[in-house]
Amino acid sequence: MLSCRSFSWQRVGAMIVRLWYGTLRSFDRLTDSFYWVTIDLILWGVTAGYVQQQLPGSELNVYALFVCGVIMWSVVYRGQIDIGMGLLEELWNKNLVNIFASPLTVPEWITSLLIFGFLKNCVAVAFGSLVAWLLYDFFLFPTLGWYLIPLFFILLMNGWWIGFLVQSVILRATTRAQAFAWTFVWLLAPLSAIYFPLATLPPSIQLVAKAMPTSYVFEEMRSIMRGSPPNWNSLGFAAFLTVMYVAISVWLMRRAFAKVLNAGLVKVY
C-alpha cells in the first residue's frame, strides 16, 4: 500500500496544476461545469413558474424550492463526478502509472482531487446563482443566508463519499464500470428528497432515505426557506453520517487500490 508518510503539499499542488490543465484543455470538462446546471435551472425554473401559476395565493415559493434544489443538488453531483472523473481521466489517458510511479502518494492524490473539486464546486455554485439571478431574479445567498455554508459542505462531502465509492468500483472492475460514475449518484437523488418533503416518500423508502445524510440537508434547506432556523441536531447527525461514509468510502478505495497494486497498476484500463 502506498504510504501516507512524507506528505508533500508541493505534489498536491502539482496534481492540482495537472487537473487545472486537464479542465482548461477539455471542452467536455469546461461545459460539464456550467452546462448541466444551466440546463437544469432553465428546465426546473420554467416548470416552477408554471406550477406557481397553478397555485395562486399559495405560500409555497416554488421557484425557491426548485432553484435551490437544483443548485444544491449540483453540489453533490459535482462533488462526486470530480472524484470519479479524477480516476477515469487518468485511466483513459493511461497516465495512472506515470503518476503512481512518481513520488506521489494516494493521500496526496486524494487531497488534490478534494481541493480542486471544492474550487470547481464553488465556481459552479457561484455560476448557478448568477444564472438563477439573471433568469428568475432569485438570490441564493439571501435565501439561505449563512446557513448555506454548512449545507454546502455537508452536500459536498456527500459527493466525495459517492465519488470514492465509484472509484473503488472502477478500480476493481476497470473502465467497464465507468458508467457508474455518471449514474450511481442519480440512484440516490430520490432518496435525498431534493424537491419534496421526506414524508412524501413511502414509509419503507423513508427508512432508507434516513440513512442518506443529504435527505436531512434538503429537509433543513426547505425549513430555512420557510423562514425557520435549521434543526442543528438534524444537521449534526447528517454531518456525522457524512464523515462516517467518507471514512468508509476512502477505506474501500484504498483497499481496492492495494488490490490493484497486487495485480499491477498497468492492468487497470
Binding site: 504510504s3 495537472r18 486537464g22 506515470n98 510511479a101 497498476l265
Partner: protein, 309 residues
C-alpha cells in the same frame, strides 16, 4: 562500487503462474545495467515492481540502502523512468505536461531545468502541441524528457529508443552516457536492440521464464558461446569439398546473398581454414566475426525452449 539498487529474491506470482521467480540483482552507482530476455520473460513485471506499481509476492527492493516499500516517496523523488506501457495525458499540451511533471518530482531550479530539458530533447517546436498530436518519435522524446526532468540518480528505461530515428536514438544514447559520466547516474535499461545494449551496458542480466539465467558483461556473455561466424563466397564447383570440410568441424551452414556463413567453435577456425587450403577450396570475401550478444540471446532463448519442452 556503491549499490544504487539491490533486489533480493524477488518473486511475483499471479495465481498459479510465476512471472518472476526469486530474482536477485543489483545496480551499481554510475552503472548501466541491461535487463534482457525474450517477450514474457519477466522483465516488465520486474520493472513494475521496481517502480512500486506492482506489489511483489516476496523478496525485497532497496534503493540507496532503503526499502522501497517503506521509503517510497523519498526514493522515487530521486528516480525516474520511461516506459512503452504508459502514456502521458493526451489532452494536455507538451508545455503543460512538463510543468506538472516537474512539480510532481519537486525539481530543483525548475525553470532552468525545464529550459535545459526542452533544448536537449528538441521540444521547443512542440511545446504548444497537444500530446495526442505528437508522432511516435516525438512522444518518445517527450517521455524521455519526462524521465530526466528531475535529474534522477537512477533512471529506468524500457526500450527508450524503440520509436526513434537513428539520429535521435544516437543523441539519446550520447545523452545517457554523458549524464552517467558527469553525474554518476545509474541506468537500468531494457532493449531488443542488442547492438545498443552492447554499446551502452556495462553489465547485462538475462532473464528467462522469470528467473535470472546470466549476469555478466556483454562481452563475457557472448564469449561463453565459444562460437564464431565465418562468412565467405565459395565457387559452386567447390561446394562438395566445402561441405565435407564443414562436416569435419561440425559447423552449421547458412547461405544468404551468395555468402555461406558457418557457425563454428572459435578454437577450430584456424584448423577449418587450413582444411580449406589443403583441399584447395578457394575462399573469397572472407570475414570472421565473434559471437555477439544477439547470438547469446538467441542461444539462451533456444536452449531454454528445448529444456522447457
Amino acid at each position: 562500487m556503491n549499490r544504487s539498487i539491490v533486489v533480493r529474491n524477488l518473486t511475483k506470482t499471479f495465481g498459479e503462474f510465476t512471472a518472476v521467480n526469486n530474482v536477485s540483482l543489483s545496480l551499481g552507482s554510475g552503472e548501466i545495467l541491461g535487463l534482457l530476455g525474450p517477450n514474457g520473460a519477466g522483465k516488465t513485471t520486474t520493472f513494475q515492481m521496481l517502480l512500486g506499481i506492482l506489489t511483489p509476492t516476496s523478496g525485497s527492493i532497496e534503493y540507496f540502502g532503503k526499502q522501497l516499500s517503506t521509503h517510497r516517496s523519498e526514493i522515487l523523488e530521486r528516480v525516474n523512468f520511461s516506459s512503452t506501457y504508459t502514456n502521458l495525458p493526451w489532452n494536455l499540451k507538451v508545455s503543460d505536461t512538463l510543468a506538472f511533471i516537474s512539480r510532481l518530482y519537486r525539481t530543483q531550479n525548475r525553470a532552468k531545468r525545464l529550459a535545459e530539458i526542452i533544448e536537449t530533447f528538441r521540444l521547443t517546436p512542440l511545446l504548444s502541441k497537444r500530446v495526442i498530436s505528437l508522432s511516435a518519435g516525438e512522444l518518445t522524446r517527450l517521455n524521455l524528457a519526462k524521465a530526466f526532468i528531475n535529474d534522477p540518480e537512477i533512471v529506468l528505461l524500457d526500450e527508450p529508443t524503440a520509436s526513434l530515428d537513428p539520429e535521435s536514438a544516437h543523441m539519446i544514447r550520447e545523452y545517457i552516457l554523458l549524464r552517467r559520466k558527469e553525474l554518476g547516474m545509474s541506468v537500468l535499461f531494457t532493449s531488443h536492440n542488442m547492438s545498443e545494449v552492447e554499446t551502452m551496458c556495462d553489465r547485462v542480466v538475462f532473464i528467462h521464464r522469470g528467473g535470472v539465467v546470466a549476469d555478466d558483461t556483454p562481452v563475457n556473455l557472448a564469449r561463453t558461446l565459444d562460437r564464431c561466424n565465418v562468412s565467405l563466397i565459395v565457387p559452386p564447383e567447390h561446394n562438395r569439398s566445402f561441405s565435407e570440410c564443414c562436416a569435419i568441424f561440425d559447423s552449421e551452414i547458412s547461405v544468404q546473398d551468395g555468402y555461406s556463413t558457418l557457425s563454428v567453435r572459435e578454437s577450430v577456425v584456424s584448423d577449418l581454414l587450413a582444411e580449406f587450403g589443403k583441399r584447395e577450396v578457394p575462399l573469397h570475401g572472407i570475414t570472421i566475426t565473434r559471437a555477439t550478444l544477439e547470438d547469446y540471446f538467441l542461444s539462451q532463448a533456444q536452449a531454454s525452449e528445448v529444456a522447457h519442452a
